[in-house]
Symmetry: D2
Subunit: 374 residues, 4 copies
């Protein structure tokens, strides 16, 4: 039996190590063996590498990937949309599986808070067979029940991974805190989630969109994704300066919706005053527990705010993302162009460090490319 | 021209002083001169007396009152519902007037955040004519544009003031954060707003309602207003004990909705963990700015919360309150019975101190009763 | 192997015939063999018997039943809520299974419109093994994937079946067309769905509820379920008379919500004018295709109506119904008392004819009682 | 005192007659005297001319107009948004005034169903002073309480009137039946309301939009406003053919939302089957009572439809329209280019007959242009 290479996180803050695992062979009922074509490096991967979230080690990271079906298990004949699945199809998949049976899945309609949810590239220990449960590998074995999506011919795998889980995260966020067309929107943060939030707000008919972030090349991206104005945190260094710059665009009372896509807890205290009274504050970026802030709850009452949290996404948001890329050529090209660095699997650690350095655009691993591809 | 007595707050933390002002005589167009029958002492009045909110001095307090129409200005022929108004009618009125023309009133549908909103018993300086703009007085002169409501014969003025602005505040809160019938609800606080929140949650079909508060006589009231279970903060002294007691009733994942009616900022950190993931946290009690707390915004994202603020109420919520008391005999009697102390105007300061001492139920002033009425 | 008795519909409009089928023996994985304790006769069963809906013959009717678990298939260890299931437990089950995978289940969140939905007692041919797929039988074999609910000790099976699928239908209806507490409601029809709609509207905090229907004993029931006023169609014979009677209670502009629970198409033309402009008209009763009416679509635009359809219910609505009966003692007793006729399985046809004659309250079959039980 | 020319409808189906009325002189408190620059001919004007709606005669038609302020009454210093108003400002105004005090305005939040609503160009008798209450005149005297909007320099009056009340009607419609971005939409009708509905659906992020209508030049416009596909009723003459063509674009189960903008009652029976189960059917076009259809209410229940009516619009929808034209240059140009015929006031009747003939795009009257302008 042949073997499969994977880049493994064995110790936090230590280089990923290239390892081989036995090829899983024929998948079980409902499973799929997929050759990974593109594995995106998500900002969360950097947090995982730093040990800031509780995950089992060793671990094959990679939760936003696209690949080609190599083998289909018994009974797996259709993708999540009901379209036929065949060996050789290009696919992506939802990173998590919700059980569909627990308190949150069934009784409360909150599958992203499923009590037994596990995510590829995050929740699986690479010591446990079948080992291959992350995208930083030549192949991944997808469990029965995974929401698989056949990619339309018009949607290149790189466009999809260029958008990454940031896009589905933003889509889910606006699902919980819907925009009305014509609303003014402030997006805090110009990382991947921030850019995706700008893109979705633009599609959904936002009137004016202001992005706060940096550095310059990210602000340039923010504009290309649809921001009407950008606020450079390197230039406007005080809260007051930034607030003035934002209100100059959205009006003196603040925006109808402010979307936090930063991750630093302090962003909340900057963002709330940018929101008009009775507006929505969507807390989209506080994925990691980065500690407490000094916060005044009187603000919530007095400003009559809606502060809305959003965690992960469901398969239907992946579907929405694919449909968006299928129908919106400009956006598709933009996300594809957002990939600035490509690495072979052997350089997975370098890929991760590049993403960590926050130097360019999206960084991806091409696990089945020869090292020269870079 | 005759004169009108009023109890005036001249200096914060000093006794109210009984003063007389000239009788306003014939009201102007759209105005109404009303003899005050019952003026409730709201917890906010205690905050105002302590100087914790910025108000002009001197000031005739009293923002929840009912009275009898003495004179009607030209053109004021119907109440807010369109019912005919006549001299001698028993009435109440919304404490605030929203301009109907500003950014919040017109463009954003948030009249409680009206940019020029003024409230009787709070925002008017008693030095300025016509002086009589609060309930702690024999008469009040209501401005044109005030939302007046003729009281149905079946709704005694004391039942209405027994409910007070706490009821309209709770009604507005649930308007912004609607319950679905069958939801489990936790109410933090058993002051007037907490009791009103329990009452409204019960009417709206809540499944289980747990109230956290004290002292004993308030918990007894909480049960009589519809709480299925109560948690006595004097007995269960740690967050963990109280959390266990709450979850024993609403289930291990928390309540669908938690309503904060406490006012201490720390209540937010106690209440959020009582809310199930994806649930609603209604911040109803943080009216005064009582300072900051150490708060973790990661919670909002991870628990997928909706934290919803609510400020004041609109005339339609006063109407809803009157209709509720009209239709629900049991609730009407309960609110009426909730009045435990009645004072003549001359003892307005004693009334305020009684409310401040938090010793009994609702305290009211009967400004046109003789001193012996007490 | 022993045999199981069932009452079978072999030809439309012909008497049900008592037949025996082989006992299914041990259930397959995920399946459950349940002894039927109570099988309700639903109005739909009468329509099915008359051949007004396309169903396969022969057919074991009965889609609202409660029973006792006799055997559990492999892996079926918990009910829909996650509570442990054991042989001997009293249970009920959702009458339909949605596939969870089709366009309506997955992409559009409309599981009641699942493309391959099948309902016990309706969609299964009794000629096909395992034959026992309806409630008019001593046993029913429930498929893997059925939403099973263990009944709380406090909820007698007869209370549940007394409410029947009418209650879950009403709960689903108000889920699609939510009431706000304080709304005025008109319920057209005082059959089982109408009574259930009254009960749910009352629980959800409706202000005034008017029921239109008959005969007298049904109107009496309507009042006991919470109607403030009833309109007897035998007394007020013209639309205009009935409209006047309704408006006398809900006010001259109509009700906030009108719920059609009649089934005759003409009811729509009677109901729409009872609805205030901008109100909701919930079409809950048009389950069978009873033909066209002459209808003016201008009304929808001019009255700014919301006409909302509702089909069937989901497992979570069954859960809601059980929880309601568990928590609301009065309602539970009322539904239990609503059963006026009980028949042994041998008299299943007499049971059906009794229901058809519309003479009393709820009619049920007790398939495992001896004939003398009647 | 000088005089003002107006085109007056004196008898239904008779030519408009050019008349003069005395110049109103100085407007009263809150009123505005406005020189009419552009008056749009709305399809409703044709219905009015034909006598299909109950209006007083004689009547100065014209309910979608823009003009220049000639004189401002006392106290009228700001427009509806709070921006300063001065003589010489270009303005438009909401065609109707809601009283703000009646059952629908206050208690039910349905100002478009205001009990005493009057519309310029429709509800006023030209015999009654001040006579000038419609747009087909050199000047119009606007009542106190009219929602006036100062037009931004970037929004030409012709762009606004090119959009006309069709745009505000569509905006109000989608306010009542909101789109989610990514929804598929079918628009029935390619008249002004249909085109506006397409434009708004596109802005709000619709995925695929199919327009059904004609003739060819209107379908061409439909595409330029954002329709992905058009169905020509002159080519596909049967319901079945058109249904097939629509489903080929939106998928076999129908669209998420279908918007009726036709006006013929039969359109409802064509549109409902184009809607997926659980979808929304927005009845936007049935303004005139054009009679009954044979309709099957079972469809509403079985398809679990939401049929939603929408009547007129509120001032905030006019504001939204102006903001949309201000921010969306492409759309602004498109609406401006949509005007194909311009007439001086003396040819008002010819203008109306041109609109009636349905030959080109938008027809407008320029009441203060010299006859040669045409």
């Amino acid at each position: 039996m042949s073997s499969v290479s994977a880049a493994v996180l064995e110790k936090f803050e230590q280089p990923l190590r290239l390892t081989t695992f036995p090829d899983p062979g024929n998948p079980g009922a409902g499973e799929a063996l997929v050759k990974v074509d593109v594995a995106g490096i998500c900002g969360t991967d950097v947090h995982l590498w730093l040990g800031q979230l509780p995950i089992p080690l060793p671990n094959v990271l990679g939760h936003e990937s696209a690949g080609t079906i190599e083998k289909l298990g018994a009974g797996l004949e259709r993708d999540w949309r009901g379209e036929p699945l065949r060996v050789g199809d290009r696919v992506t998949w939802a990173s998590s599986i919700a059980c569909g049976e627990c308190y949150y899945c069934r009784l409360k309609g909150q599958p992203t808070r499923c009590l037994t949810r596990k995510a590829y590239g995050i929740s699986y220990c690479a010591s446990d067979p079948p080992h291959l449960r992350g995208g930083y590998a030549q192949k991944i074995l997808l469990r029965a029940g995974t929401a698989l999506f056949r990619l339309p011919d018009s949607v290149p795998s790189e466009a999809l991974i260029g958008a990454g889980c940031a896009l589905t995260t933003a889509i889910h966020g606006f699902d919980r805190a819907p925009l009305s067309w014509g609303d003014n929107v402030v997006v805090q943060g110009t990382g991947p989630v921030g850019l995706a939030a700008i893109a979705v707000a633009r599609v959904a008919g936002a009137a004016r969109i202001v992005a706060i972030g940096g550095p310059k090349h990210r602000l340039h991206l923010a504009k290309s994704f649809g921001a009407d104005a950008v606020v450079d945190i390197a230039e406007l260094k005080t809260l007051e300066q930034r607030r003035e710059a934002v209100l100059a665009v959205v009006g003196p009372y603040g925006a109808d919706q402010v979307v936090e896509c930063v991750g630093y807890p302090d962003a909340v205290n900057e963002g709330v005053p940018l929101c008009r009274d009775g507006g929505q504050y969507l807390v989209l970026g506080q994925y990691a527990d980065a500690g407490n802030i000094s916060f005044n709850p009187h603000t919530i009452t007095r400003k009559q705010l809606r502060m809305i949290g959003s965690w992960g996404f469901e398969p239907r948001h992946v579907d929405r993302a694919i449909r968006l890329l299928e129908q919106n050529t400009a956006l598709r090209d933009q996300f594809a162009r957002g990939i600035t660095h490509r690495f072979p699997l052997a350089q997975a650690d370098e890929a991760l460090q590049t993403a960590r350095a926050w130097a360019g655009g999206k960084v991806v691993i091409l696990p089945n490319e020869e090292p020269a591809a870079h």
